[in-house]
């Protein structure tokens, strides 16, 4: 054990030349200088090991005793380091190699796109470049996979979903494209029929024979514009085209609780940074949790790779956001007002874009179990026409 320690500190093998070597040994013992491996070579030469920290003191004693010394060997870490430093190019090369390997294995080498047609793929690659996902970028400088996926999905309009997965140094982008149905070219003769029960508000016919007039009541599926025009004896088939605006009634039910409690972010947040070593998180920057009363925490982990192996250390960013419990309570009148807005919004989702809401009416309202229940009626003017092809009869 002691020899090992001496090895770390470093020691020298000294050759002591002179008659009286045993007195030197005794002096060393008295003045607390450690010597070991004492090996007599012949009658006036002795080989001795001495630690480099004691060498100066030993030299003084040797001078007093009029003994000569010769350093035979230098052993231990300090000398080894010195020797290694002489070959520093070698060590630097090794360090540089590991460093380069480390950098290269944390770089994007490949981006694969699957499931996209060439046009979408081109757009997707362009969007990825804008985010910074390109060949040669360092993975640890990029946002994590979840974030990239979110940003890409936001940027791309004509795709339903983008899946981003990271396999070592390559990213795989899986794309599910939106299938936009192609607009059917207008072909063949057809009628226009009502899609729902309505009272006709106005009629614009481009082609065809209008059957209904304003203020007529129509049922679902009843004929609005006929594709048969011309004289009764000699009918001509055309593709009826036009817009029939009908007044349709919608009924919507909404429930508004009078008291609700929910959580909101106050906007205050703290970031904490960690370096994770073998699963142990060491804080690097940001030491307080912000002393928030209520908070939510999210963890973002960025692992580092050496070649294909995940290193046992990674960088972790912890976001601590302050949350606030908010209680909201409505009076009955307020609840009805909110309910009306909600109902209208709800209705807006169901209606086509060109529909207009003409009027609204509260049909029923009651308060029970701390909730306001509303049944709303809406008068909506919308296009009720839909095409129905006329079957061509054989032999006519």
């Amino acid at each position: 054990m002691k020899t090992n320690w001496n090895h770390i500190k470093g020691y020298v093998r000294l050759e002591i030349i002179g008659q009286d070597s045993s007195s030197f040994i005794n002096t060393c013992l008295q003045s607390d200088i450690q010597i070991w491996d004492i090996q007599p070579l012949d009658h006036n030469r002795v080989l001795v090991s001495i630690s480099i920290s004691d060498l100066r003191k030993a030299k003084a004693i040797l001078k007093e005793n009029k003994l000569k010394i010769r350093i035979k060997e230098k052993k231990g870490t300090p000398f080894l380091l010195k020797k290694m430093w002489k070959r520093n190019g070698f060590i630097l090369g090794m360090a540089a190699f590991i460093f380069v390997l480390f950098l290269l294995s944390n770089m994007i080498w490949n981006i694969n796109v699957t499931g996209a047609n060439p046009k979408t793929e081109y757009e997707l690659r362009k969007a990825a470049v804008e985010i910074g996902v390109t060949k040669g970028k360092f993975i640890f400088l990029l946002p994590n996979v979840r974030e990239i996926q979110r940003q890409l999905t936001e940027k791309m309009d004509n795709v339903t979903w983008i899946g981003v997965t990271q396999h070592g140094t390559s990213y795989r982008l899986e794309v599910v494209e939106k299938e936009i149905p192609e607009a059917k070219p207008i072909t063949g003769p057809r009628h226009l029929v009502a899609t729902k029960e309505a009272v006709i508000h106005s009629v614009f016919v481009e082609k065809g024979q209008p059957i209904v007039g304003v203020n007529d009541y129509v049922k679902k599926g009843s004929l609005l514009v006929s594709g048969l025009i011309g004289k009764e004896k000699k009918p001509q088939l055309v593709s009826a085209k036009g817009k029939i605006w009908g007044e349709v009634w919608y009924q919507t039910e909404v429930e508004v609780p009078l008291n609700t409690s929910f959580q909101t972010y106050t906007g205050k947040y703290k970031n904490r940074h960690y370096v994770s070593l073998f699963g142990l998180n060491l804080p690097v920057y940001g030491f307080s949790d912000g002393e928030f009363k209520d908070k939510t925490e999210t963890l973002n982990e960025t692992p580092l790779y050496l070649a294909k192996w995940k290193m046992p250390f990674s960088y972790i960013k912890k976001e601590v956001r302050e949350t606030d419990g908010v209680k909201r309570s409505y009076t009955k009148a307020e609840a009805i007002e909110v309910g009306k807005k909600m109902a209208k919004k709800e209705l807006g989702k169901k209606l086509p874009e060109d529909a207009k809401i003409k009027g609204e009416k509260v049909w029923q309202q009651n308060v029970s179990n701390g909730k306001v229940k509303l049944t709303m009626l809406y008068q909506v003017i919308e296009n009720i026409a839909s095409e129905q092809p006329i079957p061509i009869q054989q032999g006519e």
Binding site: I25, L29, D42, V46
Partner: protein, 93 residues
């Protein structure tokens, strides 16, 4: 005075079952075959060569003879000698 003290020490050793090396300041010598010799309670090196090591003791000397001697460790009161040991002698002086 010295004589009396020696008498007391001897008596203590025999009647109180105390180890002799502690009470009387004698060397404790441990040998492992011919390879090692370990001496505690010495008083310094008197002479050292390849074939002979002479140690000072409180009373007299200890002469170890053999060949290829190397002092592996030496501390103020302990010494570990390696080599081929052929004899251990106590000398007066």
């Amino acid at each position: 005075m010295g004589k009396l003290r020696q008498q007391v020490n001897k008596w203590m050793m025999q009647n109180l079952e105390l180890p002799a090396d502690v009470v009387m300041d004698l060397p404790r010598i441990t040998m492992i075959g011919q390879l090692h010799i370990y001496i505690e309670n010495h008083r310094g090196v008197k002479a050292f060569s390849n074939e002979q090591l002479t140690l000072k003791l409180k009373q007299g000397t200890l002469v170890i003879k053999g060949s290829e001697f190397v002092i592996k460790t030496i501390l103020p009161e302990e010494i570990l000698l390696e080599g081929t040991i052929s004899s251990v002698d106590f000398g007066k002086e």
